[in-house]
């Protein structure tokens, strides 16, 4: 929960002192999220059952629900890009929730993490578009009328470049803001003040992860469907 304020001690500071690597906190918390997800995945892979129970049930609900949602929005082609979408969602969700653990910080509360993911999204949907349409992908940037094509090319380039920026800033602003509010409320009224906020922030963090997922989906839909 350090969030850039002169921070209360986070675990990553202690770990960093032990290891002597000099890395910033969000890197450690991102690794933590990766460890959690890899552990879950490896645990589940060993004992997949036809009738799911426990952890497998949770993951099947989440991933199955998201897949239905994606296919309902993009169409059958959505299944090809779904692994990317789903890993983005679950990764962000876990990183966001880690921020709620006392002594931990959300990795998404640092702008670098988000920028990395947003750039991945940007490159990926353009790659998918180019792979599907070849050189014709440029039609997506030209607009409907031939006369206005040069103007549209510039306009679309600007609005496409604005996408990773807005993705980054939205996630960063929301999560960082929540972390700061938690720290401030903890200073004001230690447990009583923060506890109700936890319920709000669990919702808020879920929604932010979902918005990132949904925007990625819409961008992919845009690059997969026929130009205008």
């Amino acid at each position: 929960m350090s969030a850039g304020l002169p921070h209360p001690l986070t675990y990553s500071v202690i770990i960093d002192e032990k290891l002597g690597l000099g890395l910033p906190p969000h890197v450690y918390y991102m690794w933590l999220a990766m460890i959690i997800l890899f552990t879950c995945a490896l645990m589940l892979r060993g004992r997949l059952q036809l009738v799911p129970g426990g952890l497998q049930n949770v993951f099947e609900t989440v991933i199955g629900g998201l897949e239905d949602f994606t296919v309902a929005n993009i169409g059958e082609e959505g299944r090809k890009v779904f692994p990317f979408l789903c890993s983005i969602f679950i990764f962000i969700l876990v990183m966001n929730y880690i921020g709620l653990i006392p002594g931990c910080d959300a990795a998404t509360a640092n702008v670098n993490t988000n920028a990395a993911m947003a750039i991945c999204v940007f490159l990926y949907y353009n790659y998918i578009g180019i792979k599907k349409w070849g050189f014709g992908y440029i039609k997506h940037f030209m607009g409907p009328m031939a006369a206005l094509a040069p103007l549209m090319l510039v306009l679309e380039t600007v609005s496409h470049l604005a996408r990773p920026v807005s993705l980054t800033l939205r996630l960063f602003g929301n999560i960082r803001g929540e972390e700061i509010v938690l720290v401030l409320l903890f200073v004001l009224a230690p447990v009583l003040g923060t506890l109700p906020m936890y319920f709000l922030f669990i919702l808020g963090k879920t929604i932010q992860a979902f918005i990132f997922f949904m925007l990625t989906m819409i961008y992919l839909k845009g690059s997969l469907e026929h130009a205008h």
Binding site: T61, V62, G65, L66, D68, F69, A72, V154, L155, E156, V158, S159, L161, A162, R163, V165, S166, L169, R170, L203, T206, I207, Q208, F210, I211, M214, L215
Partner: protein
Amino acid sequence: MFFPKQGKHSGALELLYVSGTIGLQLVSATFIGLAMGYFLDKWLGTSPWLLVVFLILGIVAGFRDVYREAKRIQNRTGGEPGAGDPGAGK
């Protein structure tokens, strides 16, 4: 809550996403336009003309995105503005 079933993901979630999206898209398109103009000026030495042109282009692109988003919502709610809201259109 956050895994909408097929066909059941009505209003609220969609609106949440839209309200979280539109404003920032407008702002970031403007700033991207500004940055492109600034760096092109620096590169080509045509200060300040490209800055002005690209700033205006950025603003236009931002508004165009918002307009497109509004159209998308309109299509989704059945063509009529406010069709998802029973109190509207009286």
